[in-house]
């Protein structure tokens, strides 16, 4: 195992795991808490990257983070508007926004399909001076995710946060509790959008490039991370669940890193992702089934031993 996972591989898996964990946290909010399948994630991720890259190119790598988050919140707002004010089903709203974002993203990137950040400063650069060349990216990613995770955990305990959680949990109750579900859905999707875009922005600065197809398949990856985390950690306090999502994201990156080290060709990675997602989703169910079979077998053989039927 040691030969498969060398230190640089572990570090880079953790770096990506933490940065992509923000998308998983966005889906945690929209999918697990609000019960909305947000298919605009792919476009929103690229949007964050594109906006962040442009601002970074202008020489403001730190300002790029809030700028990207604002853009992501805007994307979430439009998604919420379609759902709550125009009666569009959430899945359709996501597809529509995602389609529209493709053009928007191209426009943000100056109608070019990629953007290079090689010559400009990044937020990671600021950390390099303090923590040295090996760990700086990881420390930056961890710091940002920890801050976001703590803020999210705090937010979900406030009146607004509780209202958002109730919206996804019991629609009947929400209306009878004087909560406007249109408002809570909008806030939830805006926050989720800003997380997704922040992740995109960080990936752009991490890889020092922005590509129009960067976000493709992001929703599947984030969903996989989310479900791995929820399967392993299960229910519990909000902070615990959030930590689980981050853990899930890291584990997913380790699985991909191992696949790469086992010389799985890069063009097969999407299939590997799909298999990981399927296994992660199916495993709790299969575990139950296996346990039931065992109990059934034991019960039946005990009955045979009795000689009664």
């Amino acid at each position: 195992m040691g030969s498969i996972l060398s230190l640089p591989v572990i570090i880079s898996a953790l770096e990506l795991g933490f940065i992509y964990a923000l998308v998983a946290l966005a889906l945690f909010l929209s999918y697990s808490i609000l019960n909305i399948a947000d298919l605009s994630t792919d476009g929103c991720f690229t949007l964050g990257c594109a906006v962040g890259a442009q601002v970074a190119v202008m020489g403001h790598p730190v300002l790029a983070l809030p700028a990207a988050m604002l853009a992501g919140a805007g994307s979430g707002f439009i998604m919420a508007l379609l759902q709550t004010k125009m009666g569009v089903e959430s899945i359709l709203a996501g597809i529509i926004v995602n389609t529209g974002l493709y053009t928007v993203n191209l426009a943000v990137m100056g109608f070019s399909s990629n953007l290079s950040l090689f010559k400009c400063e990044t937020v990671f650069g600021y950390f390099k001076g303090v923590f040295g060349p090996t760990w700086y990216k990881l420390i930056a990613a961890v710091a940002i995710v920890v801050i976001v995770g703590l803020l999210l955990s705090w937010f979900l305990g406030t009146r607004l946060g509780l209202s958002i959680r109730a919206t996804g949990d019991n629609d009947d109750m929400v209306k009878a509790s004087s909560i406007n579900p249109a408002f809570t859905t909008t806030v939830g999707l805006c926050v989720a959008g800003s997380f997704t875009a922040l992740s995109g922005c960080l990936i752009g600065q991490y890889q020092k490039t922005c590509d129009i197809n960067l976000g493709t398949g992001m929703v599947t990856i984030a969903l996989a991370s989310l479900i791995i985390g929820e399967t392993l950690i299960g229910k519990g306090s909000m902070l615990r669940r959030i930590a689980g999502v981050v853990l899930g994201s890291c584990l997913y990156r380790f699985a991909i890193a191992i696949a790469l080290r086992l010389r799985v060709p890069a063009e097969c990675l999407k299939l590997v992702s799909a298999v990981i997602v399927a296994v992660a989703i199916a495993s709790p169910y299969l575990k139950n089934q296996v346990a039931f079979r065992k109990r059934k077998k034991a019960a039946l053989s005990a009955r045979k031993g009795d000689g009664s039927c």
Partner: protein, 267 residues
């Protein structure tokens, strides 16, 4: 206090499925009134509640609460002053949130304006929740951190009742809220209802299929049939009334022979 004037609601108008759910209902509920509502399935009882709570808007007519026109006020805004319990105990609380969080939600909703959306419950408030839960005598005060989904139907309905009245509403709507519970639990929840309504001097409307509790509870009984209130009795007229007398009055009020297969009341 609550003044409903000639409200009408027709579902699926202009189709073969057209159904007049409310055909011109007028009703005035005074402060401290506790009215029981009876009537067969489809008589319009729940539609009346939906009208008051604002689940949908009326085709015609007006609804005033405390002198304020709420005919076109959306449901979630009315909910600050209208408490509501459904027959289904699962409808009133969020299953994946803890008892404490559910109560916090019910409590914080009414602190609107006075505090920000980022307000959280304080230690004293949590203590208050615990004391209120203890009054239910269900041991819920020791399970504050457990998700509500783990509670039984009766416990959830009692919790919902507490949530709906944690900050007393102007009017409480109870839509057969004990019908899905076992007799002993139903009795307990009904006792709690009486106690809470009495202590807070709430105006209350309660739908029931139990003719005995219809006469025994509250100070007024309404009977509905085919989207209309056909009987409204209170005071002396109600005091001496038996279940049989009520059924007789109903058949006269509805203007038709009583058909026990159709009107499934439990005597």
């Amino acid at each position: 206090m609550l003044k409903i004037t000639n409200i009408k609601k027709t579902f699926n108008p202009g189709t073969v499925n057209e159904k007049v759910a409310l055909g011109g209902v007028s009703l005035t509920v005074e402060e401290g009134d506790f009215a029981t509502i009876i009537g067969s399935n489809g008589a319009g009882k729940s539609t009346l509640f939906n009208a008051i709570a604002g689940s949908f808007y009326m085709d015609e007519g007006s609804i005033y609460l405390d002198g304020q026109d709420i005919t076109y006020v959306p449901d979630y805004k009315r909910a600050t002053v209208i408490g509501r319990l459904f027959q289904d105990p699962m409808k009133g609380s969020a299953p994946h949130m803890t008892i404490e969080e559910n109560l916090a939600l019910a409590y914080l909703r009414t602190t609107k304006g006075r505090s920000s959306v980022f307000s959280r419950t304080t230690r004293e408030q949590r203590k208050m929740f615990q004391e209120r839960l203890a009054l239910l005598h269900m041991g819920l005060e020791d399970r504050m951190k457990q998700p509500v989904g783990l509670l039984s139907g009766g416990q959830r309905q009692a919790l919902t009742l507490l949530m709906a009245t944690l900050v007393p509403p102007k009017i409480l709507l109870l839509d057969e809220h004990t019908a899905a519970l076992d007799p002993a639990t139903a009795e307990k929840v009904l006792e709690l209802t009486k106690q809470i309504v009495r202590e807070n001097h709430l105006a209350c409307l309660m739908i029931t299929h139990n003719m005995h509790s219809a006469l025994e509870l509250g100070n007024r009984t309404l009977m509905m049939d085919s989207g209309k209130i056909v009987l409204d009795i209170k005071g002396e007229e109600r005091d001496g009334l038996t279940v049989d007398g009520l059924l007789e009055k109903f058949s006269r009020g509805a203007g038709k022979e009583l058909d026990n297969d159709r009107i499934l009341f439990s005597k």
